[in-house]
């Protein structure tokens, strides 16, 4: 008997043990031991019905020492890191940032990665953005802005606000319109802002949530070095994922600055902004809460306050809103798993969401995350009954209402 005990203590820990004990070390991670196996998480998960191991079942597998089976199934790639499960779990287990992300990390280490996701990760590594665009062209979207955008590396002066523009607003032709709109609003408010231009790298939060922790750290460190070169009062972001990373993840890497999403920054200046909002936008608008503004960070009121400040707007809520908002399907790597998820689901979460907007007779689906405009616009294209629905970022709606000529 003693021989047996000695032998077992010298065994290296199994993957299952390493993952299970590792998960208990993160913030509130010990709560994983209190999972009641109620299944609420799996029920609320938008793709739970397509996962071999939705959160509760994954915990059961860990308890049974069967984590290998999780790694051998590719269905964890259906997780869009939307925080819906984390929000409802009665045991308050950090399911999205802990369990699901850890499972993806193991998938990645095992090389079990869908090819389309590989491309986005490799692009991020080589170019600092998941779109595979030239880092030299990161500030190309600012061309023709009046007044011109201040690029910190060139201006060599302190600014009040460092605007972290983000990948999609910098490169994606549709989302560049959001960036230009926000630049216009900041200019009208006389905000002294600067951008990093080609020194800016992907915030890498979605890469982290897709399991690429090492890549996240590398890119965060590069951003951290760029921040350290300049003087500024605070950071604002276009992208809720960047906001989440800078607020909740970068500090652990020693990169710590005051940061806000642009909707928070503008809502604080709403009295200054209102007199400029003179053009009516006569429309029923419904707002889609982005997961990383809403559930992950509790920002619900500011985007709505901005929309209500626009004259002519009637704000209506969809069935899922605020804490219960549906994901657009782009989180946690979902942005780069469209084909993979389509093959498993034969429908897209963005399509379900667009149907909710149509159901409340909205004219405009307002968003506040750069992933969402292209995702929802694509979904509208395939909705037979949705041709009238327009998708716009809050920044674009505000810019439209400004009393200045369209460019």
């Amino acid at each position: 008997m003693t021989v047996l005990v000695t032998a077992s203590t010298t065994q290296p820990p199994t993957l299952n043990d390493a993952v299970y004990s590792g998960l208990q070390l993160i913030e509130n991670g010990e709560r994983i031991r209190t999972c009641l196996q109620c299944g609420t998480c799996s029920g609320i998960c938008p793709f739970g019905h397509l996962m071999d191991y939705p959160p509760g079942k994954m915990i059961a597998a860990l308890r049974a020492g069967a984590f290998e089976r999780v790694v051998n199934s590719d269905s964890v790639w259906m997780c869009v890191s939307c925080y819906a499960c984390t929000q409802v779990c009665p045991a308050q287990i950090p399911l999205t940032p802990g369990l699901m992300t850890r499972a993806k990390e193991e998938m990645l280490l095992a090389g079990n990665v869908p090819e389309e996701l590989q491309h986005a990760l490799q692009f991020s590594q080589r170019y600092g953005n998941p779109l595979g665009e030239s880092p030299r062209k990161r500030a190309a979207w600012t061309k023709g802005l009046d007044p011109p955008a201040t690029i910190l590396g060139k201006a060599k002066r302190p600014v009040d606000v460092l605007w972290f523009v983000g990948d999609y607003p910098s490169y994606h032709p549709r989302v560049q319109r959001t960036a230009r709109a926000l630049a216009k609003i900041l200019a009208i408010l006389d905000v002294d802002f600067g951008i990093l231009g080609r020194e800016e790298q992907s915030d890498a939060d979605s890469q982290r949530l897709a399991g690429e922790r090492g890549l996240f750290e590398m890119l965060a460190e590069k951003n951290g070095r760029a921040f350290a070169k300049y003087q500024f009062g605070e950071i604002i972001t276009t992208d809720p994922h960047a906001y989440n990373a800078l607020k909740n993840e970068y500090p652990a890497l020693g990169i710590s600055y005051p940061v806000r999403h642009y909707t928070q920054f503008l809502a604080e200046r709403i009295d200054q902004l209102k007199p400029h909002l003179r053009r009516e936008v006569k429309a029923r608008i419904t707002f889609h809460d982005p997961c990383y503004l809403g559930r992950a960070n509790g920002v619900y009121d500011e985007p709505r306050a901005l929309l209500e400040a626009i004259p002519g707007v009637t704000l209506v809520e969809m069935f899922h809103h605020r804490q219960t908002s549906l994901c657009c399907g782009g989180g946690g790597g979902g942005m780069w798993l469209d084909g993979f998820q389509w093959e498993k689901a034969r429908s897209r979460i963005s399509e379900w969401r667009v149907q909710e907007a149509i159901k409340v007779n909205a004219d405009i689906l307002a968003v506040a995350c750069p992933y969402e405009t292209p995702r929802f616009e694509d979904a509208v294209k395939t909705a037979a009954n949705g041709a009238h629905l327009v998708v716009k970022d809050i920044a674009e709606l505000l810019a439209e209402s400004l009393d200045i000529e369209e460019e």
């Binding site: 990390e105 990645l108 280490l109 090389g111 990665v113 090819e115 590989q118 990760l121 490799q122 590594q125 080589r126 170019y127 595979g132 665009e133 030239s134 030299r136 399991g211 690429e212 922790r213 090492g214 890549l215 590398m218």
Partner: protein
């Protein structure tokens, strides 16, 4: 079983190119180099063979920007030996010169199999594989999308245009031009690449880019010129789209 993979770097097409003042080459200052995609497949094929047959894999590369990262990545994927050829490859070397530099270094490794990417987008004077095979006095088969090792021979799948595939037996040692590995190149987590960057041992080998390797000389390099009958449509998406519709209507297509 010794497998050698001499890899090749090509200008990254994500950046815009300009022509050097000489009018005979790209302006190298603005070129950023990346691993040739087909060589990535050659590395993968070598690692897959290693996993099946216990082969030893050596990856060999010219000393250019990004070479250390590429070699570290190869090591993280499973390559056993990494060799860097030292000379001024940054300035650009013809494929003849590159093949000669490889041919000088490879025999000492006594390879059974040399795997190269079948082509590269900057192959102005031929591809490395056949040139290398000629200099090494080995047989060459290109456009390979599958390799199995037999007794003193390799069984390879060669792709022909029109969806035809041939299975061939090639006596070893041989040079193969890889079009695609049996499986797409695997993803290596960045944490593993980072570890390899710190721990991988890269052997530096003096090499020589031969003065006259026999490559064709570039007389003039220039951007495509607009042909006499061509109309270049300028403007934003809307303008371009309306002009296209107009043209299609004129042509009676719409």
């Amino acid at each position: 079983m010794n497998i050698v993979v001499p890899i090749n770097f090509v200008p990254d097409l994500v950046e815009e190119f300009s022509i050097a003042d000489s009018g005979k080459d790209l302006d190298r200052e603005w070129v950023s180099l990346m691993l040739n995609e087909f060589d990535d497949h050659a590395i993968e094929q070598a690692i897959l063979l290693k996993e099946r047959t216990d082969a030893e894999v050596t990856v060999m590369a010219p000393d250019v920007e990004g070479v250390d990262d590429a070699l570290a990545t190869a090591s993280a994927r499973g390559a056993d030996r990494l060799i860097k050829l030292e000379d001024d490859f940054e300035a650009g070397a013809s494929k003849h010169a590159l093949a000669r530099a490889y041919a000088a270094a490879i025999p000492a490794l006594q390879p059974d199999l040399v795997l190269t990417g079948v082509q590269a987008h900057d192959d102005l004077d031929g591809t490395v594989g056949p040139l290398l095979a000629e200099y090494l006095g080995m047989p060459y088969v290109g456009y390979i999308s599958g390799v199995e090792i037999g007794d003193g021979a390799a069984l390879v799948r060669k792709e022909y245009p029109g969806g035809l595939i041939a299975e061939m037996e090639v006596m070893l040692p041989a040079v193969l031009g890889i079009q695609a590995a049996d499986q797409p190149p695997r993803y290596v987590a960045f944490s593993k690449i980072r570890q390899a960057m710190q721990s991988a041992e890269i052997t530096e080998l003096e090499a020589e880019i031969p003065e006259d390797a026999g490559a064709a000389a570039v007389v003039r390099m220039y951007l495509p010129e607009t042909g006499e009958r061509a109309e270049m449509i300028e403007g934003d998406e809307e303008e371009v789209a309306s002009r296209l519709v107009e043209l299609f209507e004129q042509a009676g297509i719409l």
